[in-house]
């Protein structure tokens, strides 16, 4: 399926308002965001400031976003495209083929006629569950 959106990166597909919201949430000092971004290095408040992106020693080069006071080590690291902020997920699923079918009776039992889609949860309490149709 070709849509005109295909020429955009995942980031570009996100509505600018939503993106702004996500970026603002990830500001340092916002505890909730800091916890949710595990890859976010702790701010180093001593004289040797390290780049929050690559952990290298940072020069005095600040983030391109005016509200951000972080210091990054190189031009490359200030590029918003290399941001450490939570990346937005992109999902890929292969195209399903009409193959590997259960016979109808078993299909009803399993809840699908496609063996490839029959993925019962087998952890925790789901393990105990037995389907008897």
């Amino acid at each position: 399926m070709n849509t005109k959106n295909d020429q955009y990166t995942p980031r570009e597909r996100v509505h600018p308002d939503l993106l702004r919201e996500l970026l603002e949430e990830a500001e340092p000092g916002n505890l909730r965001a800091a916890q949710s971004v595990s890859a976010y290095p702790k701010e180093n408040m001593s004289r040797s400031v390290s780049c929050p992106r690559c952990a290298q020693r940072a020069e005095k080069r600040t983030c391109v976003r005016s509200t951000c006071e972080k210091t990054y080590c190189s031009e490359n690291c200030t590029d918003p495209k290399n941001s450490v902020f939570p990346s937005l997920a992109m999902v890929y699923s292969p195209v399903q083929e009409f193959t590997d079918l259960y016979d109808p009776e078993e299909g009803l039992c399993r809840g699908t006629i496609f063996k490839q889609l029959d993925k019962p949860l087998t952890v925790g309490k789901c393990q105990e569950r037995r389907w008897n149709v």
């Binding site: 399903q96 009409f98 079918l101 109808p104 009776e105 299909g107 009803l108 699908t112 006629i113 496609f114």
Partner: protein
């Protein structure tokens, strides 16, 4: 409900689930020859099963009601009454 009636109902349940699955697949792959043949095969079997059931035991949906001298749709035991019979 007697055994053959129950069996036929179960068969209808199985077949209509199968047809439904084929329909969901065809929604995304409308040109798939194998899926089309599969759909056709099971739709026909479903039709036959429903026809056979309705001929012997009465309508499954109200579209299966043969309007005679009485409205058979309300005559059958309701689903929750089957086991009491």
């Amino acid at each position: 409900m007697n055994d053959s009636r129950r069996k036929l109902l179960k068969q209808i349940q199985i077949l209509s689930f199968t047809v439904n699955e084929a329909v969901l697949y065809l929604d995304l792959h409308p040109e798939d020859k194998a899926a089309l043949a599969y759909y056709d095969k099971y739709r026909n079997l479903l039709r036959e099963a429903i026809h056979s059931y309705e001929k012997n035991y009465g309508p499954i949906t109200f579209c299966g009601v043969e309007a005679g001298c009485s409205w058979s749709w309300v005559m059958d035991p309701w689903p929750w009454e089957y086991d009491a019979q």
